[in-house]
């Protein structure tokens, strides 16, 4: 019971963090048709800027200041980079974002060095929120959950209920028509790119103290975010939300499960041979393969439903 509840909580916290990253990525893809490889780089940059600002002015200043800074940088990348190479096609854009990703990683290593930074949880939130049986739930995780839920509500409100959201949604599918109506579509793209980058940076600022702030952090989370976006359906915000939660929960629950593949098959009434072909596979527990489960899910989704759970177009 205790394990179940805490696994669920941890899974939701992790899933919401993934959502903060993937929401920006999926919006950018929806608009430009380009997977932004630099997205995880903006996440890392957010964590490092947050760390540096926190060192001078405190955690809260970092939380407020780092995302807009990274957002501006993102907008700059779109305005000066992506827009220029746009006419050379998607491959050029893809390579540009890839280049920016490499650049960010190198710059971070040059500016902050290779060792992990001791980015710590602010003292105000450094206590345990509640204790259930034997485990405690840290207040900071509740704070993470609160922020990411807030972002989720805010994004949906903006996109579904405001005029700006209407224009963004229209630009996603009918950029030509929107431009005809007198809206500056390139500027919409730039703003969305900037906001997406700022969201990634915000995720970095709040995840940095918990998941560690080090030059490899972009790589570790980067690949999983792509999985989320593809499973959810490229360009679909709802899809990204559902896929983030599903992957977050699957990953935490898989760790908690000690069933092996053999015992699962045994439960289905099948017996497995102790020797011979594949016999080494059966004693492997679900917990040990937890990290590759999202990728298995990715393959499964691509086979069964290539558009992703909520997507409308072929990836």
């Amino acid at each position: 019971m205790e394990l179940l509840l805490f696994s669920l909580l941890n899974g939701v916290v992790y899933g919401m963090l993934l959502f903060m990253l993937s929401s920006g990525l999926t919006l950018i893809f929806g608009m430009m048709g380009v997977l932004n490889f630099a997205h995880a780089g903006f996440y890392m940059l957010g964590a490092y800027l947050g760390y540096t600002i926190a060192g001078h002015l405190g955690f809260w200043a970092g939380l407020v200041a780092a995302p807009p800074l990274v957002g501006l940088l993102g907008a700059l990348v779109e305005r000066q980079g992506l827009r220029r190479v746009h006419r050379f096609g998607h491959v050029a854009e893809l390579i540009l974002t890839f280049g920016v990703a490499v650049l960010i990683e190198e710059i971070v290593q040059l500016a902050w060095g290779r060792p992990a930074k001791s980015y710590t949880v602010p003292a105000v939130l450094d206590f345990s929120l509640f204790r259930l049986f034997q485990s405690t739930f840290p207040a900071y995780k509740a704070f993470m959950l609160l922020i990411s839920a807030g972002i989720f509500v805010f994004l949906f409100f903006v996109l579904a209920r405001t005029r700006a959201g209407l224009i963004i949604q229209a630009s996603l599918t009918h950029p030509g028509t929107v431009a005809m109506l007198g809206h500056n579509v390139p500027r919409v793209f730039m703003v969305v790119f900037g906001i997406g980058s700022a969201l990634a940076a915000l995720a970095g600022v709040i995840a940095g103290p918990v998941l560690g702030t080090f030059p490899g952090m972009a790589q570790v989370l980067g690949s999983i975010v792509f999985v989320v976006v593809v499973i959810g359906g490229l360009g679909s915000l709802t899809g990204a939300f559902v896929a983030s939660l599903v992957i977050g929960i699957i990953q935490t629950f898989a760790v908690a499960l000690d069933y092996s593949l053999g015992s699962l098959l045994g439960g289905l009434g099948l017996t497995v041979a102790r020797t011979g072909f594949l016999s080494e596979l059966w004693p492997i527990t679900i917990a040990r393969i937890a990290p590759i489960l999202p990728y298995l899910l990715l393959i499964l989704v691509l086979i069964v439903r290539p558009t992703g759970l909520f997507g409308t177009r072929e990836s």
Binding site: F6, N10, P115, S118, V210, L211, G212, G216, V220, R288
Partner: protein, 416 residues
């Protein structure tokens, strides 16, 4: 205007100067390759190791070097990947370097050890010596031993023998949880723990034996939750680098209060991450005196000197000093850098390390024999702290060399 011919002559002259200069200025250095992670999740560990090698080499060079030549440490980034390590090893041999130090990850160590053995058998005129300062999978000096591999750290079974001696004396422990990284070293620790705890304390129940992917887990909360759910009252882990930092953080967050018996829960960011939550709870098995509460003669100055150069880092691997100095002595004794002769000189060598311990490089399997220490994470009476955090390790037990020594199972083939 310069004509094309002038430019060519000028360049030729420059080349001549560049070619002559090093010979005129200093003796040709003895180059030593350092193949370890300098990027990725374990970069912090690798970089601090490199700095310790340079620091140790500096001291040797100040004392006149080896055979009148200075030592030069040449770094190669292997990203803790066995495949990448083999590419780097090719570079090392291509650069004409004969001595290779590597320590992080036994998975990498197996790959390098294997490659070095094959390379040496095929290229008798261009051999390399593999000096392993930290990879502690026992197999490296047992089933997989060969003439060109030497290990300067106590291996996993030696350390587990010491740890389980301490665990035996603690009647409060009834349920043990083992968690480690999913590769040869993590498995070796788990196997040794199951075997030795079973022998010394058959009443202790192993309530969990978990392997997680190395360097891939960012949030250890689900694993910690599982430890809590198992009702364990003690944990054994061989985790290192980012995996140890994140495990410690998650344990702190979940309020897990049981004692941890670890191999590497100190320094390179780990001590700072554990902080006050780990006082008198986190224990570490390691070689060489931790320096607290009172450091052996010589160790204190060495540690303080390093801290002056690297204010945030520590001498957390004194075996780097041991390994480099034993290599230097072996080259001196052999009078040459010929790999086979240096290896022969290392066999059976006795050395008093920076902490005053007697180290013997066992001839049979090239495993260094040494006493092992059990220390506790604390902030009381700490003279030499770690991570500049105010916290450090204080000695609790010293397990003598004879008690730690494991039988040698190596059938060494020596070049004839």
């Amino acid at each position: 205007m310069l004509s094309g011919r002038h430019v060519v002559i000028g360049m030729l002259a420059l080349t001549m100067v560049a070619w002559l200069a090093p010979g005129a200025m200093a003796a040709d250095p003895i180059r030593i390759a350092y193949v370890d992670p300098l990027s990725g999740p374990f970069a912090a560990t690798g970089e601090n190791g490199l700095n310790q090698f340079r620091y140790a080499a500096e001291a040797i060079n100040k004392a006149g070097g080896v055979l009148g030549r200075p030592l030069e440490i040449v770094p190669y980034d292997n990203k803790v990947s066995p495949q990448e390590s083999l590419i780097q090893l090719k570079k090392v041999t291509g650069d004409g370097i004969q001595f290779v130090f590597q320590g992080n990850s036994s998975g990498v160590a197996h790959a390098i050890s294997d490659a070095v053995q094959k390379h040496n058998e095929r290229n008798p005129g261009n051999r390399v010596l593999y000096l392993n300062y930290s990879a502690v999978d026992p197999a490296l000096t047992n089933e997989k031993c060969h003439f060109w591999h030497f290990r300067f750290d106590a291996h996993a079974d030696m350390k587990m023998a010491a740890l389980t001696d301490v665990i035996r004396a603690n009647p409060k422990i009834k349920k043990m949880y083992i968690i480690g990284q999913d590769y040869s070293f993590g498995k070796a620790v788990a196997d040794a723990a199951v075997k030795m705890v079973g022998q010394k304390r058959p009443d202790i129940q192993i309530v969990g034996n978990e392997l997680h992917p190395i360097g891939k887990v960012q949030d250890f909360s689900p694993y910690v939750q599982k430890i809590v759910a198992s009702g364990a009252d003690a944990v054994i882990t061989g985790n290192w680098g980012a995996d140890m930092i994140n495990l410690a953080k998650a344990a702190n967050d979940a309020g897990l209060k049981v004692p941890f018996y670890t191999y590497y829960a100190a320094s390179d960011g780990v001590t700072a991450a554990i902080g006050a939550a780990g006082i008198d709870r986190i224990r570490l098995v390691h070689e060489t005196h931790p320096g607290n509460p009172s450091a052996p003669k010589g160790l204190g100055d060495y540690v303080a000197g390093y801290r002056k150069l690297h204010p945030k880092n520590d001498v957390n691997q004194p075996r780097i000093h041991t390994g480099l100095n034993m290599l230097a002595l072996a080259i001196k004794k052999a009078g040459t850098t010929d790999v086979d002769k240096v290896a022969a000189a290392l066999e059976g060598m006795e050395y008093t390390n920076i902490g005053g311990d007697q180290i013997l490089m066992r001839r049979e399997d090239h495993q260094a024999l040494m006493p092992v220490y059990i220390s506790v994470h604390t902030n009381k009476a700490i003279v030499y702290d770690l991570d500049a955090s105010g916290f450090g390790l204080a000695i609790e037990n010293k397990v003598e060399r004879e008690k730690v020594t494991q039988p040698a199972a190596c059938k060494m083939q020596r070049p004839s």
